[in-house]
Symmetry: C2
Subunit: 277 residues, 2 copies
Amino acid sequence: MEIEALLREKKRIIDDALKGYLAEDDTPIFTAMRYSVIDGGKRIRPILCLLTYEASGGRDFDEIIPIACGIEMIHCYSLIHDDLPCMDNDDFRRGKPTSHRVFGEGVATLAGDGLFAFAFELLSRSKSDQKLRVIADLARITGPKGIVAGQEMDIREKKELTPSFLRKTHFRKTALLITGSIRAGAIIARVDDSILTNLTRGGEALGMLFQITDDLLDVREKGSEENRLTYPLLYGIDRSRFRARRYADRARYYFHRAGEVYQVLKEITTFILNRDR
Amino acid sequence: MEIEALLREKKRIIDDALKGYLAEDDTPIFTAMRYSVIDGGKRIRPILCLLTYEASGGRDFDEIIPIACGIEMIHCYSLIHDDLPCMDNDDFRRGKPTSHRVFGEGVATLAGDGLFAFAFELLSRSKSDQKLRVIADLARITGPKGIVAGQEMDIREKKELTPSFLRKTHFRKTALLITGSIRAGAIIARVDDSILTNLTRGGEALGMLFQITDDLLDVREKGSEENRLTYPLLYGIDRSRFRARRYADRARYYFHRAGEVYQVLKEITTFILNRDR
């Protein structure tokens, strides 16, 4: 399929750049950072960032690659901290032992902290004169009203599992950074505000779609886990699939409104709706 | 004493601003963030930032206060993570229970993450057109070659306690952010590079001085702790005091070279050399 080939091509670019940025040093911290970043993940966030930038007419890798990679490092940092015993207490991630299982909790916590700081260093290395807007955007997204708030809701005692609580948690934990990835590509490419608004709405729906399909895949692989806040737990499989389709429709609608050039984002939306891993 | 009155006055400005920034929200994360930031600490880093800015001719609080407060939040974030059971495992900090003792490890880790992200949000809120340089500087300082590397060295098994290992650890853990605070004030006030270099060298010496006097006060209060990497442990009390004086001389030398207007930094150096808490 054409879209899969495109995703593979962009993934290779991101993977190579990530390797380059993290090759700099051989300390325990860099070793732990590399363990969690290299050879792991689909790179969906940096790919969305890069594709949106290119679709918007951007052509300079020195503007966008540090930002796309910074976003992936933010994502990896949040995974390391989420997996810690004091959070989700996961032993495996992407088929290998989690960071704290390999390096101990102390170094794992610090590897997360290091990736987060390094992400902002990379953002500030971009050649673009628009990078300050992206830095402010991502600081807000990763902050106490964003990802951190979502993660806190996720580990909170689950008496309060309501549709609105679930939606807010997933929106903050997942949809915000996916939206931020698309916004970053658009901002660096200097799109108009009206286009940015449509891309933002589309990104939010795509982010929710991504989380629901993630939940559905988790159920298929591990069975339903009662202590996890997921769509299948609250709605069951069929109604979760229905919700996924509705978010996909919504995402494609807004990407369509953003303009023809964003056809690729509509295709990725369909790809994510139908993904099986 | 005049310098103490000055420090008190600046501390009040910083305290008020920190309260304002953190008043925004009432979630568990903001509650935990406030717990670790409000009513705690001497605010030495934001005060150094503010005083350097003013000594360099800066006059606009909208340029410097968000940056000074962002630096203090970075400091508080690093304290929360350092205190965690997987790091130094401290139960008390500044005379009250540490964050994880009050809120649990999960929320404490997230409160640290939240403060770190919020710090970058504040940095990007400054009105100054020089803030990007400060953001890049602080991302490097807090990153895997800076504070994070220092903290990793601090929790590493202590077979390798040599003078150079101790110096490097303290330099990264403490001196870098104190230097960064002074540099931030100078950069926002647009000082010349030659002045910035002297302030940087002076800040590095002041940062080392600060850590040694901190170690000495710790010994006086808690007695020597064998598992902690400190100057008194390696050098004993008298030779640590000698080293403190030497760093103070060095700091004052460079602040003198930076220019007359930085007299206040020389006075703070003397104050820190003689501090008893």
